[in-house]
Symmetry: C3
Subunit: 357 residues, 3 copies
Amino acid sequence: MASSPGLSLREIVDKLGGTIEGAHNIRAIENTRIKAVASLNSANKDQIAFFSDQRYRNQLAGTQAASVIMSQQSFDALNKSPCPTIVCDNPYAYYARLATMLNPTPVSSPGVHPSATSMSTVPASTHIGAGAVIGRGVTLGERVVIHPGAIVSDNVSIGNDCHLFPHSVLYAGIVLGERVIVHAGAVVGADGFGFAPDFKQGKGEWVKIPHSGRVIVGNDVEIGANTTIDRGSLEDTCIGNGVKIDNLVQIGHNCSIGEHTVIAACVGMAGSSVVGSHCQIGGAAMIAGHLEIADQVIVSPGTMIFKSIKKASRHTGIMPSDEHHNWTRNAAKLRRLDEMSKNIKQLQQEIHGTFAL
Amino acid sequence: MASSPGLSLREIVDKLGGTIEGAHNIRAIENTRIKAVASLNSANKDQIAFFSDQRYRNQLAGTQAASVIMSQQSFDALNKSPCPTIVCDNPYAYYARLATMLNPTPVSSPGVHPSATSMSTVPASTHIGAGAVIGRGVTLGERVVIHPGAIVSDNVSIGNDCHLFPHSVLYAGIVLGERVIVHAGAVVGADGFGFAPDFKQGKGEWVKIPHSGRVIVGNDVEIGANTTIDRGSLEDTCIGNGVKIDNLVQIGHNCSIGEHTVIAACVGMAGSSVVGSHCQIGGAAMIAGHLEIADQVIVSPGTMIFKSIKKASRHTGIMPSDEHHNWTRNAAKLRRLDEMSKNIKQLQQEIHGTFAL
Amino acid sequence: MASSPGLSLREIVDKLGGTIEGAHNIRAIENTRIKAVASLNSANKDQIAFFSDQRYRNQLAGTQAASVIMSQQSFDALNKSPCPTIVCDNPYAYYARLATMLNPTPVSSPGVHPSATSMSTVPASTHIGAGAVIGRGVTLGERVVIHPGAIVSDNVSIGNDCHLFPHSVLYAGIVLGERVIVHAGAVVGADGFGFAPDFKQGKGEWVKIPHSGRVIVGNDVEIGANTTIDRGSLEDTCIGNGVKIDNLVQIGHNCSIGEHTVIAACVGMAGSSVVGSHCQIGGAAMIAGHLEIADQVIVSPGTMIFKSIKKASRHTGIMPSDEHHNWTRNAAKLRRLDEMSKNIKQLQQEIHGTFAL
């Protein structure tokens, strides 16, 4: 992609804070222009990199970057700065904000594509792409961008500055806050998986539970591609402010996710579970239904949670992998663990009995 | 959502069975009007709740509901009914049916949206939403509802009263029974994952196996959002009557799922496996290829099944989670289980040898 | 589906190699006409089957097929061929190629459907189905088939003979090689899951990392239904030539997959991992971020990989399943493995101490 015209180091610290360091004559370097972010290894003289991990000291020493972002602590530990340096509190967040300034989201000019269908009145600032569909009774905030093929069903409410990527689907009655990003193919508000068994003598059926709840999504939420968030049955499914959800995640009916919790790809949450704020749910983790997970809980990738977690803590349940023939030998013993445990106890009795004599 | 005008208790039992209990003067209460279902906790005087779990006795005692649904056994165990009560055999199924009566699916009036494309002749009772596409040679039953953006490829056959939600995709030749619900983004009939390796001396390719089979879906099946069901290679993939499939499930080519089996979210089934009827497959369970699973088998969530299961039974293979530092200590030993087992045997020999002397 | 007019055995071996065997008078049988492929069990006199596994010898003996494909070794092991036989090096690959010849992909005639939107100039050989959307600056090779509802965003480049199935989505700037198949609902190029934490005293936010990299897809790649492949943050996500990816797979930002690697359904790969060529990743396996996996590595289904794998090998980490009550007993001991190990050591000390006396 084309690089931006760039910003001087002075313009950058004026906007994002931090100080320019690493040269006797700061004035001489503060006009250095930055056109893009890059890694320490690949950066050239138009680019800025960031340094936050001591393992990359050699890359820092050899970088061709115009400038590097780092913490005061990192800067103090250097004998000599390899290039003009921006010193700040949180180099990674600084880098992210600077990268956003240098890579602004392409502006989608307001207007409704002739092939789109809108059955509601939308603000003049709305962008609706080709083939998108807006149902009846839809309320949109300002500057909403609806990409081609996105579907907004009846009675949906969307706040300012939301982006719906192609083929995302909002079922009827869903509520999005402001600055929500819904990636392609995500489905928000399908019926939850609820059926009452009604079988007798081998006959009968699963009776569908109607889902009249909604999904309420807060501000600054990001929902990944092909992720699914089910509507509530009686009450609403709730996604708190600042929650970030990766691709191919399943959130069951009536779940509630606290503010600023992050959920990595391929996670599944069964229905009616409550996850606290500032949690981190690792990729492919699974959370059973009707649990309560406290604030600031970390669930490791691939871990299945079957009990509520009452306090901030990290939980793991990964089956370690091994070369196949090693695994085969050990896995066979997994089915005999209880027996092994009993054998140990018996040996203890026998030996300690011997000693007791 | 707007509540329905409601039904009297008399109208309810006339339609769904059961008896009205809990007052000396039944006539006086059978005109009590119910507008919606709700939980014991949240129900108000227009609403009905259900009670089926003794853990919620306190909630029952304090409920403000107009009426409660429960079994004869639960009713007999009460000292006093907190409100007029409907007594029936299966309160949960009763509740589900009543909720459906009170929350009828919004009627989609027949007609084809001008932005939809249909290359086949469809019954006058069909609803086709904006941007939906119907291919050539498609056969539709009565009252089929095709929501915006759904794609029905050539030669598909769909029975009466099916609902295809936005952006669901049926590949060519797929067959749906009656009253099938396909949620948004579900894909039925993509090619299975079949390739023949043809490599020699580091050169060559995976040769694609063509998939000329279909997917045959029975009556009353529900397919969740973004779920994928592959077509068969030579024979058909078959989904039995009454099967309910949650979101983000993968069903491989040539699989067969028996009647009234339920499959929770994030399950994967590899190709050519046969699952019996009335099975329950827990969320994120995985079933390997070419297996046979008997009727009425329960597979716990997160469990991987690698061998056929010959009789009705429950199977589990969950790696228990723990606080991370506990897990770390125990997981390290998992790779030494075989060694531990040998050590135990050696100790047994040594001790029993000692005793034998 | 309608069978093809068919090919004679002579026409088949002329095109695909191999020899016709199994009769004294080969001339008499080489005109045998084959209309379709089938299994040994179900094949009739117009059909050809293949035989590559000695477990199916009885099926071979009883087959009604017009002809069977097998290796020289299998043929030599037979007393008598049950029917005219094609002998070749790799019967399964031969079968796949023959099946493709007999089931040619339906030709999609060139042309742009009136309901499609194209903002770029496309070759006359392009097929664009109903409701599909082609953005600005898109470059297409010859004979590209874009099925109904597929979305090709701005500045995408697509090579010759690619097929995009309904509702597949390519984000801006994605590059596809030649003969790439993208199945329905697959999303290529959504933003990776990258956020910098910026919290202090319980306030703050996750700062989004912009993703300016692309996804570069090689030739002959197949991408399954509802699979997601994220774009790179700074560098590109790369999918090598001949890679086959099944349904509901997640490939994180900046990953690189080597040539001819196959990835089964429900796999998740976190960001920045590098997988070698000719690897086989089993269904529902998970690969953590920032790893390197060598060439020709096999990862078993359901296995989580958390360390780099340096050489061709097979890795497994499956928690074995069992009947539920057995599992319950053994799983309880999993949380006490470390204690069990210590008990064994203590017993060893006690006994060997005894012996030493």
